[in-house]
């Protein structure tokens, strides 16, 4: 199986997060899947890189991962990903082409899933979620800002092992996004006992200062983040709902 990892209009933090994955690691997955196109991790550059992109699409045996939102203004001219056959190729064109033959299509990160910060007001580049520019395609959505590399790695390995992935109505794998942060939060007993933090950094439940854990579906409380040691609430800060559809279109810090 081959893999196209397309970075579009975003911070490229999802590929960095994926490089950070542990058990299975990026290196382990690379033995099972051939990454034929990735702006961050490929030797060829220029036309040769684009040629690898088109060849992979033609071969038709690949998983397509897209991170970042898709800029649609002026036919996608606000995000050009390469130059091929005397023409610039926009991310908008690239995702339309690459989605045709893909075995699976995965949106990595909230910008690709829902538009995220790249599409937030006033959205000069007219960026959109991947699903809006390639409607009628089955897309597995892996939101997060960025999505944890460990979640991505688990999904890719499961797909390669032909495991069935059950999705919720928004297209998110239920094994990762089936519960809210609040369901398994380590501060839940503070919530039950009405011990609310007055400001970020205090020990307590962060509901009163903007925590959106109760409405955010993500496995952070039990998968934790890098190296399974910490996660945002674990360092005494509120959940900002970075996996949510409307992130970041609300105030992240509220005063009590």
């Amino acid at each position: 199986m081959e893999l196209i990892w397309l970075e579009a209009n975003g911070c490229s933090g999802n590929i960095i997060s994926f490089l950070n994955s542990q058990n299975p690691s990026f290196g382990f997955l690379k033995q099972k899947i051939n990454i034929t196109f990735s702006n961050s991790d490929m030797y060829p550059y220029g036309e040769a890189a684009m040629e690898d992109f088109f060849k992979t699409v033609e071969n038709g045996n690949y998983i397509l991962v897209v991170e970042g939102a898709i800029a649609t203004r002026e036919n996608g001219k606000y995000n050009i990903i390469g130059y091929y056959n005397n023409q610039y190729v926009t991310a908008l064109e690239a995702v339309k082409i690459a989605s045709e033959n893909a075995k699976y299509i995965i949106s990595a990160g909230t910008c690709s899933c829902f538009g995220g910060i790249s599409a937030s007001d006033p959205n000069i580049s007219e960026s959109k979620a991947l699903s809006e520019v390639i409607p009628n395609k089955m897309i597995i959505k892996m939101p997060g800002c960025p999505v944890s590399g460990n979640w991505m790695a688990s999904l890719l390995l499961s797909l390669l092992e032909n495991k069935a992935i059950e999705l919720d109505p928004l297209g998110r794998p239920i094994y990762l996004y089936g519960n809210t942060v609040h369901d398994f939060c380590e501060r839940r007993t503070f919530f039950e006992r009405n011990i609310f933090a007055k400001k970020v950094g205090d020990i307590g439940c962060y509901l009163k200062i903007g925590c959106v854990g109760p409405s955010t579906k993500a496995p952070c409380p039990y998968t934790k983040w890098n190296g399974y040691i910490k996660w945002p609430i674990g360092v005494n800060s509120q959940c900002i709902g970075c996996t949510s559809k409307d992130f970041p279109n609300y105030t992240l810090f509220k005063e009590e």
Partner: protein
């Protein structure tokens, strides 16, 4: 003849290089950053404290730097100072992020320009057995850059885009369980930086012609790295113009607009000069002017990694256990937050009105390095490419090596304000 190199891979974001070539020599070069989001504009009217988390989303490989510059801008606006312990913890977070980047950049992005990794791709000048040794470390480097982000997340909760750095200080209260984890991580990283230096020296030995290639002109500036904790300062702020070191004066900083059909990078200038920023600029400002070249840039980066790992180990020992500090009472006004970071000088500027963000401006390191031609004067990377002899026009690897030595980040660099007369990005330069 014209050659268009797009995409330049093994960087962050989308960079296009357009070359004009005559008899295999580059006679003109243009840098183009081909993505745009408009961060300054999306911050307008938001809660000021949101800026610290949101500006990190500019860049997935240097996010913590934005949280530091942003919180400094807000704290400057509210005229508050943070404790020594908060400064230490922020610098530790930043230090881990810098190590993550330097290790990742050297092995994943730069090394494949000089030796074969994962199969035969180039005619490497490095003998096979040494190539194999570097290749092994290339694979190991994945573990170490991951480990650096693990160290960061002990203090920041997650990486990229940490939660630990907030207005008025830091949220995390280090306990001894976390402390002991961080201690070993930073020791492991320090040991690996020695290996990295060793591998760099091998490449340097076989590719010494790159001591001559990639000269930006050698005017450098730095906004200071770890300058707020004097005993651990990596580099003080300063400007090294025409080989003369002077104090940094932000009034000399200007940002110019350059209209381009597909590029969104603007042109920051210091005393109206294009300036190089990053590890080489820092080393020059720290210990005397060094010639701007491809190898010197890579060298400065790998040696700096070791210096940072050493400082990190020392700083960790001084962190007060179980202490944090945060604030919420910001006031209206104007504030500036600067720091040097992974790729160089970073500037955040905020104006708060009626308790909301009224204006925001960001100047990033990659905007300095990748800036386009303004007033007929080439940007630093453009200048570094001109004059380069390319052996095989169909595979201008010389250009790629030079470009990579800058560690370009285009997600950071693209902050154009207007296009075709229309305002894209409400921000304009507003230094007080």
């Amino acid at each position: 003849m014209e050659i268009i190199l797009s995409p330049i891979t093994r960087i962050s974001g989308f960079l296009t290089i357009v070359l004009e070539i005559d008899n295999n020599v580059v006679i003109d070069a243009k840098c183009k950053g081909t993505m745009f989001r408009g961060f300054e504009k999306l911050l307008i009217n938001r809660h000021p404290l949101d800026a610290i988390y949101l500006t990190q989303r500019i860049c997935g490989i240097c996010s913590s730097a934005h949280s530091i510059a942003s919180s400094r801008a807000l704290e400057d606006c509210s005229k508050i100072d943070i404790s020594f312990n908060s400064k230490l913890v922020r610098n530790i977070i930043h230090g881990f992020d810098i190590l993550q980047n330097h290790i990742r950049h050297f092995y994943l992005f730069s090394v494949p320009d000089f030796i074969n990794v994962e199969g035969e791709k180039i005619n490497s000048k490095v003998p096979k057995e040494l190539e194999n040794k570097i290749n092994e470390n290339y694979i190991k480097s994945l573990y170490y850059s991951t480990l650096a982000h693990q160290g960061l997340s002990i203090f920041g909760g997650k990486a990229p885009h940490n939660h630990g750095i907030v207005f008025g200080g830091v949220t995390s209260k280090l306990n001894l369980y976390e402390f002991s984890k961080a201690v070993e991580i930073s020791k492991e990283l320090l040991e690996f930086t020695n290996i990295m230096i060793d591998d760099y020296q091998i490449i340097e030995k076989y590719y010494d012609e790159y001591n001559k290639l990639g000269d930006t002109g050698g005017n450098y500036i730095s906004f200071g790295l770890f300058e707020d904790t004097p005993e651990f300062t990596i580099c003080k702020s300063g400007a090294l113009i025409n080989k003369e070191l002077c104090n940094l004066d932000l009034n000399n900083l200007k940002e110019y607009e350059v209209q381009d059909d597909i590029s969104f990078i603007n042109a920051p200038r210091y005393i109206d000069l294009p300036v190089e920023v990053g590890p080489l600029a820092r080393q020059s400002i720290r210990s005397g002017w060094i010639k701007s070249s491809t190898l010197n840039r890579i060298k400065a980066r790998v040696y700096e990694a070791k210096l940072i790992a050493e400082r990190l180990n020392e700083m960790l020992n001084l962190v007060t256990i179980n202490q944090n500090e945060t604030k919420t009472d910001f006031i209206d006004g104007i504030g500036v937050g600067i720091t040097d970071t992974i790729r160089g000088a970073l500037y955040h500027n905020v104006e708060i009105k009626d308790k909301k963000i009224y204006k925001y401006n960001i100047i990033t390191p990659s905007a300095f390095n990748l800036s386009p031609t303004y007033n007929n004067v080439k940007g630093p990377l453009e200048k570094a490419l001109i004059g380069t002899y390319i052996e095989d026009i169909n595979n201008p690897i010389e250009i790629i090596r030079i470009v990579h030595s800058f560690d370009p980040c285009v997600s950071c660099a693209t902050h154009l304000v207007s296009k075709n007369g229309e305002f894209l990005n409400e921000n304009y330069f507003m230094h007080r």
